[in-house]
């Protein structure tokens, strides 16, 4: 990806992230957050993480933000009444950003391993295909076929990693989602008795 696209999308992500904090109206904040997540998804795609980028748009910018907007409109929040006593908090927030930025730039300027660029670390699909474990005679490896054709089958690779190395974790997350569903139903009942 040409560098100017990185700066455009990182700029969109950070500028709309600031708007989330600055804007008074919660609906405007939520919509700025959607745009910020779109910029973030573009950065994911620039890192060859196509699946994560699409998931970011579908789950975050889609489902989660619709849930946010739904709740904001359900509670019928007006463009917030004046947030009093904010000056100290605003100064504190700006100080946090300043301290973070100075520390980050100080640390990364001394971080030699972080100075490699994407062009110095190209993906090597042929080497990846050669490194695939051999399968029994007569069974085709769809991932190796895609790699040999010059495609990056990242959904298949993530799925392979998830179902071979992280099967237990996947089941734990499934239980967590079940618990969250039950918890939301109980929390939403009118009387907690």
């Amino acid at each position: 990806m040409p560098p100017f696209l990185f700066y455009i999308f990182a700029g969109i992500m950070l500028a709309f992230g600031i708007l989330v904090v600055v804007l008074k109206n919660p609906v405007a904040s939520a919509l700025s957050l959607v745009v910020s997540f779109l910029g973030l998804a573009a950065l994911f795609i620039s890192l060859n993480a196509y699946f994560i980028g699409i998931i970011q748009i579908l789950v975050y910018a889609g489902a989660v933000m619709v849930l946010f907007l739904f709740i904001i409109m359900l509670l019928d929040l007006k463009a917030a009444p004046k947030e009093k006593g904010g000056l100290l908090a605003v100064l504190g927030g700006i100080a946090v950003i300043g301290v973070f930025a100075v520390q980050l730039i100080g640390i990364t300027s001394n971080f030699e391993a972080g100075k490699v660029t994407l062009d110095e670390r190209p993906l090597n699909l042929a080497a990846a295909a050669a490194a695939r474990p051999a399968l029994p005679e007569g069974i085709e490896d769809p991932i190796a076929n895609d790699l040999l054709e010059g495609k990056l089958p990242d959904v298949k690779l993530i799925g392979e990693s998830m179902f071979t190395h992280f099967g237990f974790h996947l089941q734990v997350v499934a239980v967590l989602l079940l618990v969250a569903t039950v918890g939301v139903v109980i929390l939403s009942k009118r009387e907690l008795k």
Binding site: M13, S29, A49, Y60, L67, I71, L104, M162, S188
Partner: protein, 104 residues
């Protein structure tokens, strides 16, 4: 673009989210800033995954972790918003200044 560029972008996004949590008084906006911080962590995970090539491919363990983080964040949003709705029913407000006691 180097790994440091992505780490700086990720760190700045995290700082913006943290400052939002400190500055804002509206519970829902604070919650959105939490999402911003989670996404900033995801960006640095994906950047490290891409730059740690194994056999010419990104290290997919990092991306599986991002997938799990997104799943947990979605569950967290559902529970958190249900708590906010319950709070609003009890107190008729979403300002953290007025939400200062555990019982009602």
């Amino acid at each position: 673009m180097s790994l440091n560029d992505y780490l700086i972008a990720s760190g700045l996004l995290f700082a913006i989210g943290l400052s939002g949590v400190l500055i804002r008084k509206n519970v829902i906006v604070i919650f959105m800033c939490l999402e911003l911080m989670l996404s900033a962590a995801n960006l640095s995970l994906v950047a490290f995954s891409r730059f740690n090539l194994t056999d010419g491919l990104p290290n997919y363990s990092g991306q599986v972790l991002v997938f799990f983080i997104i799943t947990v964040a979605a569950a967290e949003v559902a529970v958190g918003l249900a708590i906010i709705v319950a709070l609003y029913r009890a107190k008729q407000t979403t300002s953290v200044d007025d939400l200062n006691s555990m019982k009602h």
